[in-house]
Point group: D2
Chain length 330, copies 4
């Protein structure tokens, strides 16, 4: 339940009165709004003393509280050292699928930076379908990635797979990434809720919009509001020609329901390099506030997912078109 | 199987030799290419006399023949009285969901024409989920629709539901439309294959890309090559906030596999007017060669599907943005 | 809206008063129950004179009227010349996918009859994904099928694809079948609503339960209440090992919502003969009131869908197990 | 790649020669069979010395190695203190969704044991969609659960959500359970691969059969072959009347591809208690080797998922029917 009060002061006062010290059902305040987690009804008696200050009681907002636009109407804007994410800003996150070597990630970083990327992506811990596939270079990968980001003055984003690795990865990265297979790894989400660092949360392959917002809420409930939601394609009945089905509708839907930035990953949605550009442009035209893209200078030799990697040249062309589409839809 | 020959003459000669007069497995010729329907292997002996003229034998093309780019590499461009569809052209098809009255469809036609539409859409036979919902105004609707199109010098497109109505609808319309629920109504597709008039073929809610191409092939096999494919959203696990899931990936995929024009209907994909624009722009950014849009001056009073109708003003704004996105992606 | 009256007489009286002569929104009566099609609210004034006779006004029944258990609480039982379908009865419909010859369908009929089938299935008009696949033997097939059914004293069920063929097929068959691709071919459903003959209505590949009930309602609204619903597998993200996903849940769900018999087709659900038995037994354990099964004495030479055909011996084994499972779940 | 050798000795010899000491691509031996993880081709030269002992080289087995029937043809049978799982044995796992109190779990345990269950289920760590829902009683829950199991001489199975809890849960439980949302939490699977204790692995909501087998392989690759696969309903377009779509086909498919026991959870598939029985019986008729069922004496007051809980009486009736169906299908 969300209660809109006359002003911030009134909100603080009511919140204090309502606070139940129940860790499962906390009371949140944002400006003149109060969010009552897990509460669907409230006694009139409880509001009696504050009656004149209550503007509106909203019970039919979507499932989550802190992630709801009804609780937090204005866009969340996240500032990292080298990037601004959300609102009218647009961000490119690009880089290799996995960190292959210090030289390679640096080389790739230079290329994507030239095309406009400010965030260097790359995986050190890779969630592979088979245990017999390359699982990533681990801490060595993190180190190489960090070094490249520092050299280039870019932000670093990398995936985290295990609650036990949160502190390790935290030592290196600027932005955590939670992958599609872990979107409902609630232990991991809770652990990231304790960190004061942005988290890119990828939508699960069969996660509904509400599932995604609730997953974000796990992070937010812990106190970390720097959340970036990512649409990356869902699983449907048709996957012969593309790996997943980019659900572009999710982008405007999410933007209407939540204040968190919404970005897209057309590399994983497409799964085939020749469709990464049109699908990426579609996401941007639908309102995505950023794009994550996998690149590789020699896609056929990539350790992971080469088939979907753009070459640096292809990425530059995509980035140019993205900027033009951004202008076109304003 | 598709056989590429040295030149058109050689293709004609081989085709004559191969022709089996089997109505189920016809032999098609397009320029220097031969399409052997339903044939996966061919005796070397059959090709022996023509060996020197054979450039390539393609067996791994996608399921259909006439619809395949391997058979017909260049874009099909369809010309109606007032429109050019396909290739680098872009077409707006717009109008009310159902034809409500002669005055109303004319009024709506004026509005969409002002915004750039050359094709006036409207339903006289409505495929409704429930038998107790308004089923359309039938032949009266066709007449009013025809009259409005003539007055405005626009093309008319309308849905056909029943093989028994093909000749009736043919008397009025410029373009037939086959709806999502009839995409595999093979009797209807065959009947339209006998007509010399464009057909808009909407993708079925759970039709794969291959299903859609095979449905098109039913029309093409009958001799009618004026086919326009339409992506209109598929059915997935998530339909709380939108009616369907617009599968933008299908657009570049189809354009790579087939030469027929590919357009999109973001009204039915969204199901909610506020998402019709971003989803429509996404389809255009993905490469759609046209957009079909439902409009209504008083959406709340529309006979059918008012929730997803744009007002004329909203449609004008969409059309303007579409033109800008088209420029942006070139 | 469904209104339960004190008794049949009261229902007839109120129905007469309410009848609007609106063909789209008819008033139905079944025993002491009135179904008001397409009506969600009713003026108290309209019920005023009959107030004492009204037991209950049901507005939250599922979408359809005549197909609803709230309108027709007891099971519909359909009697054909040789079979009883519905209620506690169980029916086997079996035979070849397509009618290949008079001899072959007779042979297959003998085999399935020995195993307990009373209804001989077979297709004369085949809905094939590709126009270049065998399309069925047409009227010759119908004749052979009829002859075999007569010889064996079995009922005949065959698929109808085209409204123009309804009278032709009607001359031969005992039971019409509407296939998955035509479940929402409303023109066809309406035409069958005018016949006084059972219709097997197969669920569409992506049809919801409500879609299926509304499709049945198209037949029922026309006056034909002899409807048999069939679950045959839906389209999902996983179709590597089976052709479709048998949705066994649909069986008890449908039986709770509607009074029409619910049967299952595990041949098309499986798509592979070795899974036809376990999936068929699952459907029976879930409460299916009949099973449709494809058989062939030489599956590899079958004109259509040989991969999923059981041999007569396999069918006999399945039928024996089905009878045992039926007993087990009572 | 799987290589079948003449005998066990020959297999050991070849395995020794092939062993690459590559932790990502280990060499496994089972009786006379060798599994080469992540290997798709092998030099003839490498086999030259053992040529006469090679019976068959299988390259087209499904993705995983240790989980493949081609590597391990006979059923895996898992023995716990009080249960035998797999082969021709059938196991009931039942109990409350969450452990509410020591008294309650003991009470529920008594009830399910009377009906034939040997394994007592219950959650101490609950994966809830919302962070504001009850998250389980944690270690107190584990203790109460353990105590009840000991008192009743039953096995205990409980869900594990976090790699950091593996050792804690290991102190209490007899069988680990990995839930649908963690099926591809590879860090957790690897951690469980290090334990010498059975693991129930629930299929992810949109996991393909191959995904599930590969997830199992993560556990197996670590050395733990006591894996029990569970079908619990997948996510499809239709979820109005049931929570998920029980994919019964997966059961015979899995049994044909892998040697691990395959069980089903009809409580989560149904989501509504009245459909738990028919869907459960369907799973058993399809060949499931066990059933997991949620029960509660006062479903409406259950802490979690009361809507889908059977009462002890309902469970007893289900268990009786299950035993009869088991006999029926033999």
């Amino acid at each position: 339940m969300i209660i809109v009060m006359k002003n911030e002061n009134a909100a603080q006062n009511l919140a204090k009165a309502l606070d139940t010290h129940n860790p499962i059902k906390p009371v949140f305040v944002h400006q003149n709004r109060i969010g009552l987690a897990g509460v669907k009804q409230i006694d009139d008696a409880q509001l009696a003393d504050f009656k004149d200050d209550v503007v509106e009681v909203i019970t039919n907002h979507h499932g989550a509280i802190k992630s709801s636009r009804d609780f937090h109407p204005e866009d969340t804007i996240i500032k990292t050292k080298h990037s601004i994410i959300g609102g009218d800003h647009f961000v490119f996150m690009a880089g290799p699928d996995s960190i292959e070597s210090a030289e390679h990630v640096l080389e790739m970083g230079k290329d994507v930076q030239l095309a406009g990327a400010t965030i260097l992506r790359g995986g050190a811990f890779k969630p592979r379908t088979s245990p017999y596939s390359f699982q990533g270079n681990g801490e060595d990968g993190l180190k190489a990635h960090r070094q490249a980001a520092d050299t280039l003055q870019m932000d670093m984003v990398t995936e985290i797979l295990d609650t036990r690795d949160v502190d390790l990865v935290d030592q290196y990265t600027d932005i955590f990434q939670v992958g599609t297979r872990n979107m409902q790894n609630f232990a991991l989400l809770k652990a990231l809720g304790q960190k004061n660092k942005p988290v890119v949360l990828k939508r699960g392959m069969s996660a509904t919009i509400d599932d995604l917002l609730n997953a974000a809420e796990y992070i937010a409930a812990g106190g970390n509001d720097q959340i970036i939601l990512m649409e990356r394609g869902i699983r449907t009945f048709d996957n012969k020609y593309t790996r997943n089905t980019m659900d572009v509708s999710a982008i405007p839907v999410l933007k209407s329901l939540t204040h968190y930035p919404v970005i897209a990953d057309s590399s994983h949605a497409a799964g085939v390099s020749k469709f990464v550009e049109p699908i990426g442009l579609a996401a941007v035209a639908a309102g995505a506030q950023g794009l994550m893209t996998e690149i590789h200078d020699h896609p056929k030799e990539a350790f992971v997912d080469g088939a979907q990697a753009l070459t640096p040249e292809q990425f530059k062309q995509l980035a140019d078109k993205v900027r033009r589409v951004r202008t076109a839809i304003q």
